[in-house]
Every structure is written in C-alpha cells, then in structure tokens.
C-alpha cells in the first residue's frame, strides 16, 4: 500500500530541521500534529509513503520512533536526514530500485523488437513526429530502435549496441537486442534469488567465452573452394533476406546481392553498389546492371547514344567561373565595358570548354552544374554532357570506367580518361536514365529496385543493404555457420556442459546464460505461430547427438536439417551478436545507482 503523502509542515519543535520550510509548502499548511500522527501510523504499520519531503518528515518520525522505544523504523527508512546535494529536478535511484529501473527499461525494449525476429516476424509501422508524419514500415531492428525516443538510460545502451551492430556487420540488429534483453531477464531472476551481480557477470563472461569457442569449433570455412563458397554466400543471403519483405523473391534478390558483392572483389566499400529505387512494376522486376546507371538526363540536342565512349569525369565549375582572389570585384563605369567583361568571361568559358574538348572525349560528366552556354558548346561539338551528377555518382563512375576525377584541364595527355562500350538513354518505368555498359573495370554496379510503393522500396533497400553488408563481411571472414537456431542450440549445449563443471554460484549464472541463448529459437518459433516449447525441446533432444545439424524449419513447422535446407549464417554476425549482447548486459548489471541530472532548461526565444 502506498500513500501519496501531502506536503507536510511541522512545528519548530522538530529536533533539527535542516532546511527552512519553503513558502510553497507553508501555504499548504496541514494540521501539524495530525499528519505527524498519520505518518507515524504509516511507518509503524509498514505502509510505504511516497512523494514526501523526505528530509523533514522522516526526521520527525525518526525522532518520535526513538521516543517510543518500542519500535525501530523499517529498513527502507532513511535513517538520517540528508541535506540535498543534487539540483532540484535531478533524481537519484539506488540499489534495488536502480537495478529494477534498468531491467524494466531493457526488457521493455526487447519485448518491443522481439516480434520482428525470424522469418515469420512481423513489421512495425513507425510514424515520425515531424512535419508530414512520415510513415516507415520496417522489420529492421536498428531502424526501429533508431526512431524511438527513449528516456530510460538502460534502454539507451541497448539501442546503442543495435546501432553498432548495424554499422559493423549490418545484420543481426534485432538478435543482439533480444539476446541482451534475455540475459538481463535471466539476471533479474538471479538477483532476486540473492546472487550478487558481480557473480552473475563473471559467470556470463565464462559462458560467453565458452559459447564462442563452441561456435569456432563448428564453423565451416570454404575459402579455398570458390564454387562452394559462392553457394555459401547464396545461402547466407537467402537466410538474411528470408526475414524481410523480400522473402517472396529471396532467391532472386540473393542472386542479385551475391553478384553485386562478388564484383567488389573483397572490398567492403558498399558505396560502389548503387541502389536506384523506381516505383512501378513488381519486386521481381528488380535487376542488377553490370554496367552503371546514372539517374540523370542527357542535355538537349546532344547525342542519345555513343559507342566506344571516352569519358572525362570532372568536378569543376561550369557556370561563370569566379575569380577567387579575395576582394576582387567588378566595377565598371559604362555599359560597353560590362559587355566587354561579359565577353571576356564567355571567352574564358569557351577556352575551358576547348581545353576539355582537347582531351579527345565524347562524353563529359560533371559534378557541378553546367550552364546553358557551355552546354550549348558541348552540344555543338557533338559531346554528351551530363551535369550535376552527385558526388557518390562521380566516384562510382570513376571507379567503373577507370577514369580519374579531373578539375583542371591544362595537360590533357596525363589525365586518364574513362572508357565504355556504349552509353545510351534507357527507360525504366517512366523515367529516363543514362546507362553505361561494357565498362572496363566492373567493380561498381547498380541495382535497380522496382516495387509497388515508396514504403516497399524503402524497406526493400534496407533489406538488401543488410544482405549486402553481411555478404561483404563474409567475403573477408569466410567462416560460415548453419542458421535457424542451430548456433544458439550448439552454444547452449556447450554452456550447459560448462555449468555442470563449474563449482559455486557462478554455475547458476552460466546456466542462465544458456537459457537466454535458448530464448532466441523459442522466439523465432513463437513468432511463426508454432508450439515453441515442443519444438525447442525436440531440437534439444536432436542436439544431444554429436555433430547434429538440426534447426527449426519455420516453413514446415518442424525440426529439420539446416545443412540440407541451406540455411546459413555468417560467423562474424553471430560472434558480434554474442559479444556485444554480453558486454551490454554486463554493463547494465554493474550499475547500482542511476543519477539523472536536471534536464537542461531551454530558453524560450520568441
């Protein structure tokens, strides 16, 4: 029972009031002795009092309690009156309460994203508070968490690990939060059973190490065998995509992603893969283009098709070139002089264009604007000029065509030009795009996504991005694991073994770790509407045999052989999930006090 205490005021007879009563408090002056009696009654009968001006009221009761001699105040009773040390709006939570606050926050976040896990996970609609109330539909953990405004500090830690997971490996952003949350949920039970957080932490550490070793023992590395490795990549891509909106056409997209990543030849620079979203058509119409597609239009009166193109990629001002020496300005005293200077400016531009033409090119791509005048000049020379290609586009184009990005044009012999077989204007849906095909170096490529609506396309891009990230990381670290709850099961089994070997309280924590690991297959099954208890138990029994490949086959709703089903995951992702989740759980567990500073006051500027 909790009584919302009134603001109290006592007579000066109090033993030692530390602060003189505030004006506001004295306004609401209740009958001193009566409230005091009520308070005393509450304390004596064990009723908890909240919202109380602590340092005074408690002091009084304490004084009275010691007078009555018969009763000692309850344990939560602040024994001594404490001068306030923090600012007015700041709050301080200690010990049990602090731990509870962080557990509650972390578990709430976990429960929030839990339902998106697995192939049958559901999506979330996020509506922004900004203008337009934009809507995002997603099942990507990092995207969901990024858009939340959270006040609970422990929850912020979880959001942070999800973000890092996204940056580092790209996938597993939901799993990492769920695992951390489950670890904390288990820890909460242990804390309730009077096991010290430090003991739990050391148990978790041992368990995490053991789990990692278990995974390391079971990894498959097909680095040597290119054919097999490619099929591994295919499987990983399909597994990643199967939980996303693209799952219907996952084979198609997996092929796209694998092809794109293989072209990178080991580089992790995903910038080189351009994703163009064009609404219309269906997801299946999406395709990977070997060449390069630039989302720009060809200038007027310029050739629409060039074979054996020589391309100059430039980053230069093609408007009126400024004189950059500071303070220079044009000041003239007659119209004719204005015309003269304008003429000179034009002349300068003409010269520049001439220089550019001197490179012997037939296509000119510029990052900045090209004004009408130079454009006209280019058209006259029969050169394709593309203006305002964005920076990434320029960089990619340079990569693809093997040219270099030029900004000055004085020595044409040393500038490397880009080449491609054919430049033409193509139509996708209703838009015209410029297509460069037959390029020399095939590092960069373009994926054109088609889909029914912007939301679908956005989500498709996110999903594809996840797959690309995972693949590009896997190319560098070629170790592969099976999926579908198999790694969790393997880890849980080893951790369980460790728990049995470990003496002392730590073994409880290790056991809890294994339970937390098992929560992931459980959630996957739950989300698919399967009987998780039954399935997980079956799976566990299967795993009792050595070298088992069993996992949860969500599609058929039974335990299946993951190797046969072709469900794989990258080792790097699983390892990152395991390590960051443990680290985050450890961090939150170590906290025994939360101090929240007073929010910064915003000055209202009218």
């Amino acid at each position: 029972m909790v009584i919302e205490g009134p603001i109290l005021e006592f007579h000066q007879k109090s033993p030692k009031p530390l602060r003189v009563y505030s004006a506001q408090q004295s306004k609401a002056k209740p009958q001193g002795q009566k409230t005091l009696a009520l308070l005393l009654f509450c304390v004596l009968s064990g009723i908890r009092i909240s919202n109380f001006p602590k340092h005074r009221a408690y002091d009084q009761v304490f004084f009275l309690c010691t007078k009555t001699q018969s009763y000692s105040p309850p344990s939560y009773f602040p024994w001594r009156c404490v001068e306030k040390i923090l600012k007015d709006d700041a709050s301080e939570e200690k010990g049990e309460r602090a731990r509870m606050a962080s557990f509650v926050g972390a578990i709430a976040i976990t429960d929030l994203v839990k339902t998106t896990l697995g192939p049958k996970g559901m999506d979330k609609i996020l509506q922004s508070t900004g203008r337009g109330h934009e809507v995002t539909v997603t099942n990507d953990g990092a995207t969901i968490l990024k858009s939340l405004h959270i006040d609970n500090p422990a929850a912020k830690v979880l959001i942070d690990i999800s973000k890092v997971q996204d940056d580092e490996v790209g996938d597993g952003t939901t799993s990492v939060v769920v695992l951390a949350g489950e670890l904390l949920r288990e820890a909460e039970k242990l804390v309730a059973a009077k096991i010290h957080p430090m003991t739990i932490i050391s148990g978790y550490r041992m368990a995490a190490e053991c789990a990692r070793n278990a995974l390391l023992q079971r990894v498959v590395d097909n680095k040597e065998n290119a054919e097999k490795f490619k099929s591994d990549l295919m499987k990983i891509a399909m597994t990643t995509l199967s939980s996303k909106i693209l799952s219907q056409d996952k084979e198609h997209f997996a092929q796209l992603a694998v092809d794109a990543v293989m072209r990178l030849k080991g580089s992790t620079n995903l910038e080189a893969i351009q994703i163009i979203k064009k609404p219309g058509g269906s997801l299946k119409d999406s395709f990977l283009d070997e060449g390069f597609i630039l989302d720009k239009k060809i200038g007027l009166g310029q050739p629409k098709r060039i074979e054996n193109a020589k391309i100059l990629v430039a980053n230069t001002a093609m408007d009126t070139d400024k004189v950059k020496i500071y303070g220079a300005r044009v000041r003239v005293d007659s119209m004719s002089k204005v015309a003269e200077i304008e003429g000179a400016e034009k002349e300068k531009m003409r010269e520049k264009v001439k220089k550019i033409l001197g490179h012997g090119i037939n296509c000119f791509v510029n990052r900045q604007l090209i004004y009408n005048f130079p454009e006209e000049l280019f058209a006259d020379a029969g050169i394709l000029a593309i203006e305002h290609a964005d920076f990434d586009g320029i960089e990619r184009l340079a990569l693809v065509t093997g040219g270099e990005i030029a900004s000055t044009f004085d020595n044409p012999e040393s500038v490397k030009l880009g080449h491609c077989k054919l430049i033409e204007e193509i139509m996708i849906g209703e838009d015209k795009l410029i297509h460069f095909s037959g390029v020399e170096m095939g590092q960069a490529c373009t994926i054109v996504l088609r889909g029914a609506s912007h939301h679908v396309l956005d989500e498709a891009e996110r999903s594809l991005h996840d797959a690309l990230c995972v693949l590009s990381q896997t190319v560098n670290d070629t170790r592969v694991l099976l999926g579908g709850g198999w790694p969790e099961m393997v880890m849980a089994k080893e951790v369980d073994k460790l728990a049995r070997k470990t003496p002392g309280k730590k073994s409880h924590a290790i056991e809890a770790f294994s339970r937390a690991l098992l929560a992931i297959p459980t959630i996957i099954a739950d989300n698919a509407g399967l009987d998780s208890a039954d399935l997980v138990a079956k799976l566990r029994a299967e795993h009792h045999k050595e070298g088992c490949n069993a996992g949860i086959d969500v599609i058929s709703g039974s335990v299946g052989d993951m190797a046969e089903l072709g469900i794989s995951e990258a080792f790097k992702v699983k390892q990152a999930v395991l390590l960051s989740a443990t680290e985050a759980a450890e961090m939150i567990l170590r906290v025994d006090e939360i101090i929240t500073c007073a929010p910064r006051k915003r000055e209202d500027r009218m």
Binding site: K16, L18, R19, V20, Y21, V82, E83, I85, L86, K87, D88, A90, E92, A98, S102, V157, D160, I161, V164, D167, E168, V169, P197, M198, T268, L270, D321, V323, K324, I325, G327, R329, V330, R331, I341, G343, A344, E345, E395, A398, E404, I405, A406, S407, T408, C469, L579, S580, E583, A584, M587, R590, V591, D592, E593, I594, I595, C597, A598, P599
Partner: protein, 535 residues
C-alpha cells in the same frame, strides 16, 4: 534569523536583504555540512574496489554515461550543494594530480567527516579536531614512506609496471582483458617517457576510440591516427617512406587581412587576374612537390581545383586536420608546422615509414594511420568496443592506468593495495595517538578509525563481513608485523597482497590522505553558512 536590536527596538540590518537569506551557524552549520559531505561519499562508496558497482548517469541532454570512476561520477552529477561541490573538487584535484584513486579519496574524506561529527557531539572544538587530523595525516604519510618498497624496472623489465596498472584496471569494467590493456598502457608510457628526467608527457599519448569490434582488438599504434581520409578518392591509400608537409595555410588564393579591393574594370585586368589565380594554384602545388613532399597534411580545406592538381602531381593530401592532431603529427614525424608556402623547405618535412588508410565496418568510416615515424615518441592507443559507453569507459580506465604508470616512473615507490596500506597506517596512527597529550589525541584516534573505512568498504563491496574481515587482517598485520596483508577481494585465498600482486603508487596514496585531510579541515572550519534562500 537572529537579529540585533538597538535601544529603540529597531533591528540592525547587517546583511543586505537579510530577511531573504537563510543562515545556519555554529554546530548546526557544521553538522549540515558534514552530512552533505557524507552523502556524496556514500554515493561513491559502493564503487570502490574490484567488485565495486558502476553508476549510470544521465546528463541534462539525455546522454548516458556508465562509469565507476569517482571523478567522472561526481563531475557529471551536477551537484548543487556547496559542500558537495567541495568534495567534487577534491576528487577532481586527485584526478589532475595523480589520475587514480579518485573514489578512494572521497570515501576517505567521508569517513573523516563521520568521525568528526562524533567528536563534535562530544563537545570537542572543531579547530582541535582539525589540528588532530593534521597531525595524524603527517604520521600516516611518514608511515607510508616507511612501508613503501622500491620497485625496480627498466625498459626491458616492465612486469612490475604492468602489475600495478592491472591493479588499477581491475576495478573497471574492462577487467576482462586487464592484462592486455595494462601492457598497452605501460608500453605507451615507456615509449614516451624520458627515463633520465623521470618525466612523462601524457599529451604525447593519444587515446582514440571507435565503436565496433571487441575489446581484445584494442591496439597500441606507434604513430598517430587521424580520423580523416585522403582528400581525393583516387589518391593512393598507402604511402611508404612518406615525407610529410604539414601546412596550416589553406590551398587557396591568399586572403589579405587588410581591407582592400581589387577592382576589375577592363578586360585585361580580368584576364591577368585570372591567370594569376591559376598560377597561384600551380605554384603552391609545385612548391610542395619541389621540396620533396610525398604527403600533404593541411589544417584547412582546399578547393576542387587544387585537389585535382595535387592528385595530378601524385601528391596525396589530407584536409581539415585538427590543430591538436596536427601538432602531434609534427612531433611524431619530426616535421615543422609550416604556416606559409614560402617557408616550405625540405628540412621542415616530417618523415614516417608508413602512412595508410584503413576502413572499418560497413559504413564509410576511414582512418589514416601514420606509423613508423621518425620520432616514435608519440603513440596512439586505439580502443575498440561493443558500444559507445564502453569505449568512453575504457578511455577513462586507460587514462587511469597511464597515470599510474607515469607516477611510478616519476617515483618508483609502491605500497600494497587492497586496503593493506590503510590498515597499516591505521595501526601506526593508533599507536602514535597515545603519545599526544591533549584533546588532539581523540582526533588522532578518530583519524585512525576513519583510515579503516577504505578496507571496510572494500570488504563490504566484495561481499565479505566487513568488521570481521578487517579485524582479522588487522590482527594478522600486528602479529606478523607485516604490512602486506589486505582484503582478499577476489577470493583468491590469500591475504598477502605481495603474492596477489596488488600494488598502488606511494605518491597516489600519500596524496589521497593529504587531500582528504585538507578538505575535511576546510569543512570543519566553516561555522556559518549564509545562502540566499530560494523560497
């Protein structure tokens, strides 16, 4: 508030707006101050030692910090009370001076205040208490010198240093790989240390962090990392035997500082100006090339044309490098910072064996490593970790470890940790107390009692019975006359800190006692608090 009245019954106004101020005086003021000081120390008490807990702090802007570093906790707590602010200052000055033991010093001060309160209740004058504390602290500091041991280490034998750093790191969240981090810290300090002058310039050690990877990936780089990439995407990503021009002038046409105008009124002028501008760019790049630079590091930006010219001349460049980093690069590579192109000469170039660009993760994060520098005295500790808070906390922990290593180089005496030094001091002070006649004797005894607070908190945080454990260790120390016995926090099975390799620096400990005593004295001397009442 007490008022004085003149013979007509009118009150004397002494303070401005007297009635709006609150005033506490005498014993009441002292007690209020003491209770505030103790409240602060109580917050930190649970963070002490290897099993100490962390605090989660939410800043006014909503950022979360998780730490168990005393100085950081107090700094971020945003305290309001004046006495509490004094305690914050206390922790901070320990941090500046020593770098480690910021929690211990506050716990110690809290204990001293607690003891003082009891003495005040018995009617002992605060000044006498303060004097007694002063005497006792002198005894304790002298005693520390007696029990301190000299620690021999050299550039080859770094084991003792590593052990001491490990003691510091064991109380932090990074204790999972304390060995690796301690080694990194010691190596970093040794590589910048001037062993002859016994001085270490910690500014030469840069601690950088990047989220991602795991803590074990943390590495020591003999060189500098810069969170920048090459200005042009097609510049080479790796340069061997780089000669570096370090510029603080922009690759842009000059901007005279005096106010002037160039008026263009004829076509000729327009053309000459344009040519001049082009020549200027050419000259700048040519100048760099002439002196033999193979890498240009610039504090400012440069425009696309300059960028391309550099690229063209095969001169990789980095732009927008911060001032501090620029200085470090200059120190590391032995180059000079050049503020003007005219002053660029071959002698001013810095040298580095290897400059390379490295990318991380799936985002386009790139960093520039400058390694194998001519002057290897600038090093970087590059921290990796699961999340932002982890990195921040690791940074703080490494800072502590670095400070400890530095202190040992300055003064290679150590005392034993785990509360052993405090217990030993407490015994010494207790014994000395009887020799002092007068009221101070009581204060000295109280001081001895409060020295016990640190081991007591250690035992409490480790889940041991505090009083039982402390008294057992104390009697063991007296019986065997060996100051190495401390609290066995990690449940290793032995009390001997010498065997457990738990060391702390002598100056750190001395400073703790001195600083704590000073602040307590200051608090005790306050007998009147006048503050504008906010209600």
């Amino acid at each position: 508030m007490a008022l004085a009245f003149d013979e007509y019954g009118r009150p004397f106004i002494i303070l401005k707006e007297q009635e709006q101020k609150t005033r506490l005086s005498g014993l009441e003021a002292q007690k209020a101050n003491i209770s505030a000081g103790r409240a602060v120390s109580r917050i930190l008490r649970t963070s002490l030692g290897p099993k100490g807990m962390d605090k989660m702090l939410q800043s006014p802007d909503g950022d979360v910090t998780i730490t168990n570093d005393g100085a950081t906790i107090l700094e971020q707590m945003d305290v309001d009370n004046q006495i509490a602010k004094l305690m914050v200052e206390l922790s901070r000055s320990q941090d500046y001076e020593i770098g480690d033991g910021t929690t211990g010093v506050v716990v110690m001060a809290g204990a001293l205040l607690e003891q003082a309160e009891r003495l005040l209740e018995r009617g002992i004058h605060p000044i006498r208490i303060a004097e007694g504390y002063e005497m006792a602290s002198r005894i304790a500091v002298e005693h520390l010198e007696c029990i301190a041991q000299k620690f021999d280490f050299g550039p080859t034998n770094i084991e003792p240093l590593v052990q001491t750093c490990m003691t510091t790191l064991s109380s932090k969240i990074v204790n999972r790989c304390k060995r690796a981090l301690a080694e990194i810290s010691v190596k970093a300090v040794l590589s910048v240390a001037d062993l002859e002058r016994k001085d270490v310039n910690l500014d030469l050690i840069k601690v950088e962090g990047k989220v991602g990877g795991k803590l074990e990936d943390t590495e020591l780089i003999y060189g500098i990392t810069v969170d920048k990439d090459m200005s042009h995407p097609q510049m080479p990503k790796q340069i061997e035997d780089a000669k570096i021009a370090i510029l603080t002038c922009p690759f842009e046409p000059p901007k005279p500082k005096t106010k002037h105008k160039v008026d263009i009124d004829t076509v000729e002028k327009f053309q000459t100006l344009r040519q001049q501008e082009q020549k200027y760019f050419d000259d700048m790049v040519q100048k760099c090339k002439e002196v033999g630079a193979t890498l240009v590091i610039c504090q400012w930006g440069f425009d696309d044309e300059a960028n391309h010219l550099l690229m063209h001349q095969n001169l990789p460049a980095v732009r927008w490098v911060g001032g501090v980093e620029l200085e470090l690069i200059a120190i590391a590579t032995g180059g000079r910072i050049v503020p003007r192109f005219q002053e660029l000469i071959p002698e001013k170039l810095g040298r580095a064996g290897l400059v390379r660009e490295r990318s991380f993760g799936t985002t386009k994060d790139k960093m520039l490593y400058i390694e194998h520098c001519a002057n290897s005295r600038a090093v970087t500790i590059f921290i990796r970790g699961g999340n932002k808070m982890m990195i921040e906390e690791t940074k703080r922990s490494i800072h502590d470890a670095l400070c400890v290593a530095r202190n040992l180089i300055r003064n290679n005496f150590i005392v034993y940790g785990g509360g052993a030094a405090e217990i030993s001091c407490s015994i010494a002070v207790e014994a000395a107390a009887d020799k002092y006649p007068g009221v101070e004797q009581y204060a000295i005894r109280a001081f001895a009692d409060s020295l016990d607070a640190v081991p007591m908190a250690l035992a409490e945080n480790s889940g041991l019975q505090p009083i039982e454990t402390l008294s057992a260790v104390k009697s063991q120390q007296i019986k065997e006359n060996n100051p190495h016995f401390g609290i066995d926090c990690n449940d290793v099975g032995t009390n001997d800190m010498c065997e457990q390799n738990v060391f702390e620096t002598l100056i750190g400990k001395q400073q703790q006692i001195l600083l704590a005593t000073q602040v307590v004295k200051m608090i005790l001397k306050i007998d009147d608090v006048i503050s504008p009442s906010d209600y």
